[in-house]
Amino acid sequence: MHPTDTAIKDYVDGTSDPFERNAVETHLATCEVCRQVVDDLQEIKRVTGTLELREPPVRAWGRIERAIKLEQGNDTARSGSYAFFGKPGWRKPGTIPYWLAAAAVLLLATVVGLRYVPGRNQAGSDGDGVETSASASRAADAIESELRLAESHYENAIKGLEAAAKSDEDALDPRTAATLQKNLAVIDQAISESRAAMRAQPASEPAKQSLIENFKTKIALLQDTVALINEMRKGNEAGAARIVSGLKQKG
């Protein structure tokens, strides 16, 4: 008779008493299957002991910082501490047309209210809050897998736009940059909430749509930011005004 799971586990962990240990070893001497199991489990245990720490992605601190700034209600840029906008060397305030400040305020109005609010009759949120059917599970897995792909697509796009915006950040005045940063923090918060909703209700189509919409909003804001920076660098007030006008329509 093979040893029990507990006996095998205790043997691998070295916590068997001498009698049990002896019984397991006697069995292992003649049972190739159990010998192999024990060898494999000991190897897994050995490698587990060598696992290393993982470094979080570089963007992780930026997300945290933006969320902190949002909590602080900080709407003025501070020198030397922003991961994205707001480094020293910006143009002095006062050299930027008044409409940029208006645009910044408008941007904020555009993105506020993105938060995901679960509805009462969404998939995966019935009265019990528990899904047990295999079909629901498959649906959840399919949505999760589809969402992973979408997330990766959007995150790549966002990364590229962030890099583009960052490389030309000097073109923005501190007030506009601070407001844009605040907007990004609002969007990031909305993305976090949508992700949390997806975790709580993996089969929820509205939660998925909310997350994707928030990604799109972030991309749109970054695209507009890059376009605005380009027009300002060129000194093209009319072009910048067109972008602001587009933002008004979106708002």
């Binding site: 093979h2 799971d5 507990t6 095998i8 586990k9 691998v12 190739e32 299957v33 159990c34 192999q36 199991v37 060898d39 494999d40 489990l41 190897e43 897994i44 245990k45 490698v47 587990t48 060598t50 696992l51 290393e52 720490l53 993982r54 470094e55 979080p56 992605p57 992780a60 601190w61 997300r63 945290i64 910082e65 969320a67 902190i68 700034k69 909590e71 602080q72 501070r78 030397g80 501490s81 809050g129 528990v130 899904e131 047990t132 599970s137 992973r148 997330e151 976090s192 992700r195 949390a196 975790r199 709580a200 993996p202």
Partner: protein, 176 residues
């Protein structure tokens, strides 16, 4: 800057000091979060939530323990809350796990298991046994502590860890 000065600056709301604190402890907490959550994406979200919570609660840190211990405890509690919120799904998946843990012979292993392969396999462990495995085999808690943290009996912790190891064996060696 001394650790005390750093904490004092963080408590005063200095974001640059808080970034230093983040750089010192992020890897450990991110690793814990990824392994407990089972994915890097969720791990990153959890890391953000953990540090935001730390920022909010730093005012209550009295220095009774090292700041690293305090942060680890906060992170662990946050990860456990996350795990509990997925309790319903966990129960469902743990049931399906039972079929995977038999003493099936696997192909003879000819090379050592690579760390990266093991990391990936841990992410693929079903909810329930993964958390017990991470807490016991990786983080070093004993079964009594794991039971307390996960709200399960000590014996259940033992069986979940065993199931996790057998599932890892199947994931790492079963298809060779």
């Amino acid at each position: 800057m001394s650790p005390e000065d750093l904490i004092a600056r963080c408590q005063a709301g200095d974001v640059e000091a808080f970034e230093t604190l983040y750089q010192q402890h992020a890897a450990r907490l991110y690793t814990l979060a990824c392994r407990m959550a089972g994915s890097q994406e969720d791990g990153e979200d959890l890391l953000q939530e953990i540090f935001l919570q730390a920022y909010r609660k730093l005012g209550s840190f009295k220095g009774d323990s090292a700041i690293g211990t305090w942060l680890y405890r906060l992170a662990l509690n946050h990860c456990l809350d996350y795990v509990r919120s997925r309790q319903a799904k966990m129960n469902k998946l743990t049931e399906t796990l039972d079929a995977d843990t038999s003493f099936q012979p696997t192909a003879r292993r000819e090379t050592p298991i690579a760390r990266l392969d093991l990391e990936r396999a841990v992410e693929r462990l079903p909810e329930g046994c993964r958390e017990a495995f991470v807490l016991h085999d990786v983080e070093g808690f004993d079964h009594k502590e794991v039971g307390k943290l996960l709200g399960i009996a000590e014996g259940t912790s033992k069986s979940q860890v065993f199931k996790a190891r057998m599932k890892l064996r199947s994931l790492l060696l079963g298809n060779r």
